[in-house]
Symmetry: C2
Subunit: 307 residues, 2 copies
């Protein structure tokens, strides 16, 4: 195998009840990347479309992540990478994570798969660190593994993938405004009420139980955020209204995707997702801000080779 | 059916990662209660052994909980209750909860089962409120339902029972000292660090996933408490040493049972539980304080009728 093309999907992190620990993988929205063996050793970024990103390997999220995997092996060849970005930077649906996860997956394939997808999470975090300043896994894990993922801890890194109930769909509305992750972090308090922490643990526990038990009612009740949303929602125009119409349209839950500005809704079944998408569009149109909106099944495979 | 005898098991609440939301049900340790129909209407407590408790229905935890169920029906008979306490008050393994859960279960049986066990949780909370001043469900839920239970929320009350992996055993060491629940509450801060709340949600999520997936390693990694144990452990003599020897003996995790003073350990398999019990006993003996120690499977049935 000298050349492969891969699909690196978009992801939703946090999902209301799982700030910094929970994520899920989307379908149909994602980057494409091509990896090609070269005689010269090293990692080379040779083409970038869809975004204005640096070609220097050490300054590029995909480059840094790719190098982390590449340097574990004593290769007699190099790898060149084409990056075709479809996920907009700063959208809140894991743009940098898709680059990082895609890069480690593609390089690992050309190296003969020395690592499992689960092991690749730690390498992808190196790319994330370049993008956000800290190594976190809540987007790269679902991008690599598919389904829902829970980051149970970092010392040592411990990621669990949990199969999605079959009928779950996500709606994602991406407003064309920039919310910097640093700003989204800055509005959060350092301390929270013990009672809110208890509520949030109960919600996350309920959500995980709901996934295993295919209990949509439990999933719905658990999709609440008392820790982060109250502080971040003011960064997103018309957030409360968009969320409310999503819930009124039958969504199981709705909230901020990652650090925002994207707003997601989880729905049982495609027709509810479509109603929900229509209502969210209509509500957000009031802001006069342009946006994209997607409906997606939960991606059960994660990053993969395509033709 | 005019008379029944029931077993109301002891329970462990909190279990490190699930403060105020998680609990599990023990086997072999619990109260016995007898319920008998009477011609006179009302709830009457006619015999109490093993503890010095009030006979007045309105002042007795079992009485208050029993009345809550009894008064929902228009009965032409009353019920008298004998309470044979085996679980010591203030032990941290759900003594008042066993009284409350046993009472609602027994009365419900004699009334012809108008309520499911899950519905009975809310009534048992009325008894808990008399004991602790607030309605909480983290001990009454596992006592009624068996296995592990997660209280996902109170408005509305939402309790999920999760089957225990087959080989799980609990060791409980009960030091004969009193830790008042009010004191155990008073040492807790009102606010905690956001980063600790994130760690705790990851731990609880991991624990729930571990139960569903029968993943003992994940269960073990998740049995950590960064929210409560650091504050409460000083109320329990030699806590750190007892916990450490439990972990060294192969326990999956160890911590404070409920508000203490009991110390629990969860183990995979009976022989590890026995080693663990021996080590914990030996370590606690250094304090010169008397204690009881139990080894128990996880009770999968909860409160039940016995002969």
């Amino acid at each position: 195998m000298n050349e492969i093309k891969i699909f690196a999907p978009a992801t939703i992190a946090n999902l209301n009840c799982g700030f910094d620990v929970l994520g899920c993988c989307l379908d149909g929205i994602g980057d494409e990347m091509i990896f090609r063996k070269t005689a010269a050793k090293g990692i080379f970024i040779t083409k970038i479309t869809g975004a204005d990103l640096p070609y220097e390997t050490h300054k590029n999220v995909a480059g840094v992540a790719a190098l982390a995997v590449y340097e574990t092996q004593n290769c007699d060849f190099g790898i060149e990478i084409e990056i075709h970005k479809k996920i907009k930077a700063g959208s809140g649906i894991g743009s940098s994570s898709a680059s990082a996860a895609g890069a480690v997956f593609g390089v690992n394939e050309l190296l003969g798969k020395p690592f499992s997808k689960n092991e690749l999470v730690a390498f992808a975090m190196k790319g994330e660190a370049l993008a956000s300043g800290s190594e976190h896994a809540d987007n790269v894990a679902p991008c690599l593994l598919g389904n829902f993922t829970l980051v149970c801890g970092y010392n040592p890194l411990n990621v669990v993938a949990i199969e999605s109930p079959k009928e779950l769909f996500a709606v994602v509305l991406h407003p064309h405004i920039e919310v910097k992750t640093a700003d989204a972090r800055a509005v959060l308090p350092k301390e929270i009420l013990m009672k809110d922490a208890i509520t949030q643990t109960g919600n996350l526990g309920g959500f995980i139980a709901g996934l295993y038990a295919n209990d949509y009612e439990l999933i719905s009740r658990s999709l609440q955020d008392v820790m982060v949303e109250p502080y971040r929602k003011n960064l997103i125009p018309n957030f409360d209204n968009v969320k409310n119409v999503a819930l009124q349209s039958g969504a199981l839950g709705s909230g901020i995707s990652g650090a925002g500005p994207s707003i997601f809704a989880l729905c049982k079944g495609k027709s509810i997702a479509e109603n929900c998408s229509n209502a969210m569009q209509k509500s957000f149109t009031e802001t006069g801000i342009s946006f994209d909106i997607y409906i997606s099944e939960i991606n059960t495979k994660g990053v993969e080779i395509i033709n």
